[in-house]
């Protein structure tokens, strides 16, 4: 029997309401359940999942509640309390008493008593605890705070579902056994620990924007969720410059996403992007966040690495054409960034900015200065950047050699296609200056 159209419509309505509540309130429900369970994240996750499942049934028969989030939080809370009662009873080795499975009354529990503003913060700080492996932090944050399913996360991180599920289970077990506290770190540790949280969100975003391997360049699930997480942090910690700086950076990065790939999915270099396709609203939002972040700087609060990166992204967003880019300002920002964050990748990006400011020859010299770093040995952007500068200098044979080096190191298919196309465009040329050993048969 097919359901009557009216019933069909109602089911669709309930589905939509549950999906909306999930997108909106998942982290709040998990956080409230975690509070009720005394920081037991396994119990909290189960209770939250069950609450959403029950919503599908109950809202279908009784209608969608006025405040879906409150209903879900009460339900998840009751499930934790029931579970703990059952466990306590088992521990006392007494027969299990009947537990009520009826839906909670709307006014049964005061919603304010179940949640606190910092609950989601506790959840984030616990998921991003430095005692967990970085990959586990990413997975836990996406699952418990971001509400992605393990299958979605596994697809995003290019691991099997089973491996991802095992990683999350191990991480939760470590939190319990090692007693990683469920709390926001004290003021004295906040800046350090916050950097760890922002690093996880930034990593989720960069994984989403340039997938380290696989077919597509961008995985929107991860990029979108990183933006959501970053926006949530900006609500919870509205006075931390780095929090606002990260949000500005992610908005500005996302704004360029439509122009970053061509019709075939290959990446388009910043110099060749159609700037009309940049999202003007997102750029405006990003610049606003950047402004707010800068207002919160002071003599004892210098710009951190996310704010500085947002500044660089803003300098690009500000330029109407690639030729208008203020490379001096960008090199200056990289100088400051390198001071705060002495990473070889930052040094490489600075060298590329120098190439645009002072010309490809000086750019090549700047790259040579940093390319010796062992941490860059397998980083395909080094030969790719050299290749591009050599191409601009007309040293085609040398450029070809660098493109081949980059191709040997790259794992992302879209980037591989791009590099191959560049190499092909140089292929039938005799070459400028003969470079020994570079001639392909």
């Amino acid at each position: 029997m097919t359901p009557a159209p009216a019933e069909d419509g109602r089911a669709a309505q309930v589905d939509a309401a549950v999906s909306a509540a999930h997108a909106d309130s998942w982290a709040r429900v998990v956080a409230a359940a975690a509070r009720a369970s005394g920081g037991n994240l396994t119990q909290a996750e189960d209770a939250a999942s069950e609450a959403f499942l029950q919503a599908l049934q109950t809202w279908g028969s009784r209608g969608v509640p006025r405040d879906p989030a409150a209903w879900l939080i009460r339900t998840a809370h009751r499930k934790v309390v029931d579970q703990q009662r059952r466990e306590a009873t088992l521990r006392r080795k007494l027969p299990v008493l009947a537990t009520t499975d009826a839906a909670p009354r709307e006014d049964a529990v005061d919603i304010d008593a179940l949640t606190a503003l910092d609950d989601r913060l506790r959840l984030v700080f616990t998921c991003c605890h430095p005692a967990l492996a970085m990959q586990s932090r990413v997975a836990l944050t996406l699952r418990l705070v971001g509400g992605l399913t393990t299958a979605e996360i596994a697809a995003g991180m290019l691991v099997s579902d089973a491996a991802l599920a095992a990683r999350i289970t191990r991480a939760k077990r470590k939190i319990e056994t090692a007693k990683i506290p469920y709390r926001v770190p004290p003021e004295s540790e906040l800046v350090d620990r916050l950097d760890g949280v922002l690093t996880v969100i930034h990593l989720i975003s960069t994984t989403g924007h340039t997938a380290p391997a696989g077919g597509a360049l961008r995985r929107s699930d991860l990029a979108d969720r990183a933006l959501d997480l970053s926006a949530m942090l900006a609500v919870l910690l509205p006075d931390e410059p780095e929090v606002l700086g990260l949000l500005a950076l992610l908005e500005l990065t996302e704004a360029r996403a439509p122009a970053r790939v061509d019709a075939e999915g290959a990446p388009v270099l910043l110099s060749d992007q159609d700037r009309a396709r940049w999202d003007a609203d997102r750029i405006a939002a990003g610049l606003q966040w950047l402004d707010r972040a800068r207002q919160r700087l002071g003599p004892d609060r210098a710009a951190g690495r996310f704010l500085l990166q947002a500044g660089i992204a803003a300098a690009h967003a500000d330029a109407d054409t690639f030729a208008d880019t203020d490379w001096s300002a960008i090199v200056a920002l990289y100088d400051r960034l390198l001071e705060r964050w002495p990473s070889p990748v930052v040094a490489l990006n600075r060298a590329v900015a120098i190439a645009f400011r002072d010309g490809p020859s000086l750019g090549l010299a700047a790259i040579d200065e940093v390319a010796g770093d062992a941490r860059l040995a397998r980083y395909h952007y080094v030969p790719a950047a050299r290749a591009d500068l050599l191409r601009r200098l007309g040293r085609r044979a040398a450029a070809r050699q660098e493109y081949r080096r980059a191709l040997a190191l790259v794992d992302n298919d879209a980037e591989r296609r791009f590099l191959q196309r560049r190499l092909d465009s140089l292929a039938d040329d005799v070459g400028d200056t003969p470079v020994t050993g570079s001639h392909q048969p």
Partner: protein
């Protein structure tokens, strides 16, 4: 409260072949006393701890295929950094335990492991 084992790993070669002079030894003991007082006066408790003789004095007993134990000279694993001592510390949670671990007077590493509670009342 949870009990954590602090396993202190260091480079034995750093001490050289000579045993430490009484002055060096006393200095180290003093530093460890300061550590213990720091833990005890900051909400934790040092339940135990000892320094171990170097791995040149170690003997390892491992199962053999024939069933009886095989006795070999040396530590369980030959590594540059060897277990040199331990503390058993009681702390509220991992954050506190890690804060204490950072104050162990050593140039090496401190591995922090929760102890599995086996006492009947835990």
């Amino acid at each position: 409260m949870t009990q954590y084992m602090f396993l202190i790993y260091g480079d034995e070669a750093a001490f050289g072949d000579e045993p430490p002079t009484p002055e060096m030894w006393q200095e180290m003991m003093q530093a460890h006393l300061v550590f213990q007082e720091g833990v005890n006066s900051n909400g934790g408790r040092v339940l135990g701890g000892e320094a171990l003789a170097p791995t040149t004095a170690a003997t390892t007993v491992r199962p053999s295929r024939e069933g009886d134990a095989l006795v070999t000279d040396g530590p369980f694993a030959e590594t540059k950094e060897a277990l040199g001592g331990y503390y058993l510390v009681e702390a509220e949670d991992l954050d506190r335990a890690l804060a204490f671990a950072k104050t162990v007077p050593t140039t090496g590493c401190v591995e922090v492991r929760p102890v599995v509670p086996t006492a009947p009342d835990q």
